[in-house]
């Protein structure tokens, strides 16, 4: 009986396969949960300055040919900077804060709805979570913009709804859905043994949830929550498509006021990019720090 040597060795020079459970390498240094924050936080801090580099270098690359030089573009940006910062970027921050506030509040309600014992509430909460979590943000923004009236009358008082308010509502919807998933996941991450121990001490379901389960998973919810805040902030320029006067809209208007010279594009947009980086980068770093700290619990 001639022993037949296999021409290929599984796992060495051919793809190995097995029905058995396989332990994959453990890589704690690469958190997979928060792609955006992890990606952002892993950048060195000088990345922001690299982003601003075109802005710095632009004046030196000036052509003598045109009447409008790069130096002119640069000085135009300097002129507009305080305005873009105060009326533009600050507004992005305000929109993000309001959207986060509303999204968090509604998301917690929806998330608790998802773990409700009532099958109807559970289904409805699941449906809205999935609907808003899987819809393109821009589509949601347009729906809110077009579906909401420009003013509402409550008890005879006419309250106007400005576009930025609609943008806040539109952006808070996907945030709400994602916070809902965070709450659901965090509650389910607490071992069922905790529920059983509390049940056997005659705690009601409400008491178990509010006194025992949620206090335990509150800390675990903070890093993903902050991750979504960073994502939301970076999504606020979407509002410019609705005509909300945030930084991108104002940058465009400023460039128009400067006669739309193409040389203006790079300095102005680099400035906006840099602002977002310097705002979101610390948030991402803190998120990853908290994630590491809270993950080594118990």
């Amino acid at each position: 009986m001639a022993s037949k040597r296999p021409s290929t060795i599984p796992g060495i020079n051919r793809h190995g396969s097995t029905d058995l459970p396989v332990l994959k390498p453990f890589a704690p240094s690469q958190p997979i949960a928060f792609h955006t924050s992890a990606w952002l936080a892993n950048m060195p801090a000088w990345t922001g300055f690299v982003l601003l580099l075109p802005l710095m270098l632009w004046p030196f690359a000036s052509h003598a040919a045109g009447s409008f030089t790069m130096t002119d573009a640069f000085s135009a940006l300097i002129r507009w900077m305080p305005f873009l910062l105060k009326s533009g970027f600050l507004f992005n921050v305000i929109i993000s804060l309001f959207a986060m506030l509303i999204g968090t509040f509604l998301g917690i309600i929806l998330g608790l709805g998802q773990i409700s014992k009532n099958r109807f509430i559970k289904r409805i909460s699941w449906f809205f979570t999935q609907l808003f979590r899987n819809s393109p943000w821009l589509v949601l923004l347009f729906i809110v913009l077009l579906a909401f009236p420009f003013e509402v009358t409550i008890f005879g008082v006419i309250i106007p709804i400005p576009d930025w308010m609609k943008a806040v509502i539109g952006l808070s919807l996907p945030i709400m859905a994602n916070i809902s998933e965070i709450v659901r996941g965090a509650v389910l991450s607490v071992p069922t043994a905790q529920w059983e121990a509390a049940e056997s001490l005659a705690f009601s379901r409400q008491q178990i949830l509010w006194r025992i389960i949620l206090p335990q998973c509150f800390k675990r919810m903070i890093p993903p929550w902050m991750n979504w805040y960073a994502i939301l902030t970076m999504a606020t320029p979407l509002c410019s498509l609705l005509g909300v006067e945030e930084i991108i809209t104002l940058s465009r208007q400023a460039m128009e006021a400067e006669n739309n010279h193409p040389e203006l594009l790079v300095p102005f947009y680099s400035f906006a990019l840099g602002l977002f980086f310097f705002y979101c980068y610390p948030i991402a770093r803190v998120t990853m720090y908290l994630e590491r700290r809270y993950s080594v619990k118990i």
């Binding site: 043994a193 001490l201 005659a202 118990i298």
Partner: protein
């Protein structure tokens, strides 16, 4: 310790329990009198834990009857919270609330469920900590305590509700041999004070010493039961003999 004429506090009659297709309890009956200590022993997967989890309503039964302290568990209008105020339970994995200190773990249920005065329940908690021999550890978090200490806090936590019956679900299975002893001593103290205890355990020596009655379960039925003396020395059923020969 045997209470011949005491009232029956837990009565289990022909209980059937299935998880989906798998029938775990196939007609189990047992009675526990007030002040009795019952040990349920048997191989893994024989339904021991399921049986005692049915007693405080953590598992629902599909057939038969359970009556605990006059509360009928098959009653569709059963108030589980009322039942659980009367029945304490201690788990294999301690299951203390990790975000609360030992003292807070103990006073939580009395203050929130029984609406007791906080100062009074704290006073009682200190007494209980003394009883389980953990004076001075009142303000430690579960993470700062050893397994044996955590388990004793868990016992104190259950006792704080002044239950009529205590259920112990393999409470020493996760402990090392040395700490097993300190937990068993605590349970023995309890038993001697007249607490009705139902234990699922693999500690044969302990069962022989403390139990009033021993039940041996296998494959969802009670194969044999009797006093520790007759059970360990004169077991009749071949399955019991086989089990005992392997562990003794």
């Amino acid at each position: 310790m045997l209470k011949k004429n005491a009232e029956t506090i837990v009565s289990i009659k022909d209980v059937h329990k299935s998880f989906g297709q798998l029938e775990v309890l196939k007609g189990v009956s047992l009675d526990v009198k007030k002040g009795e200590v019952i040990c349920v022993i048997g191989p893994s997967g024989s339904g021991k834990s399921t049986l005692i989890r049915c007693i405080n309503g953590l598992n629902d039964i599909q057939g038969g009857q359970i009556n605990v302290c006059g509360i009928d568990l098959t009653d569709p209008k059963l108030d589980k919270l009322e039942l659980r105020k009367r029945v304490g339970m201690v788990f294999q994995q301690y299951n203390l609330f990790p975000h609360k200190t030992a003292l807070e773990n103990i006073i939580m249920a009395p203050t929130l469920v029984l609406k007791q005065d906080k100062a009074a329940s704290e006073k009682r908690a200190f007494e209980l900590m003394q009883k389980v021999r953990l004076e001075g550890k009142e303000h430690a978090y579960p993470g700062e305590l050893s397994g044996g200490q955590q388990q004793r806090v868990a016992i104190a936590r259950s006792l704080a509700m002044n239950p009529d019956v205590m259920l112990f679900d393999e409470v020493t299975a996760a402990l090392d041999p040395e700490t097993v002893k300190e937990v068993l001593v605590t349970i023995k103290d309890l038993a001697q004070e007249g607490m009705t205890c139902i234990l699922v355990t693999h500690e044969m020596g302990f069962a022989r010493e403390v139990a009033d009655h021993i039940y041996f379960t296998d494959n969802g039925v009670i194969v044999e039961h009797g006093s520790p003396k007759t059970f360990f020395n004169k077991a009749k059923d071949p399955r019991t003999k086989e089990f005992l020969s392997q562990i003794l």
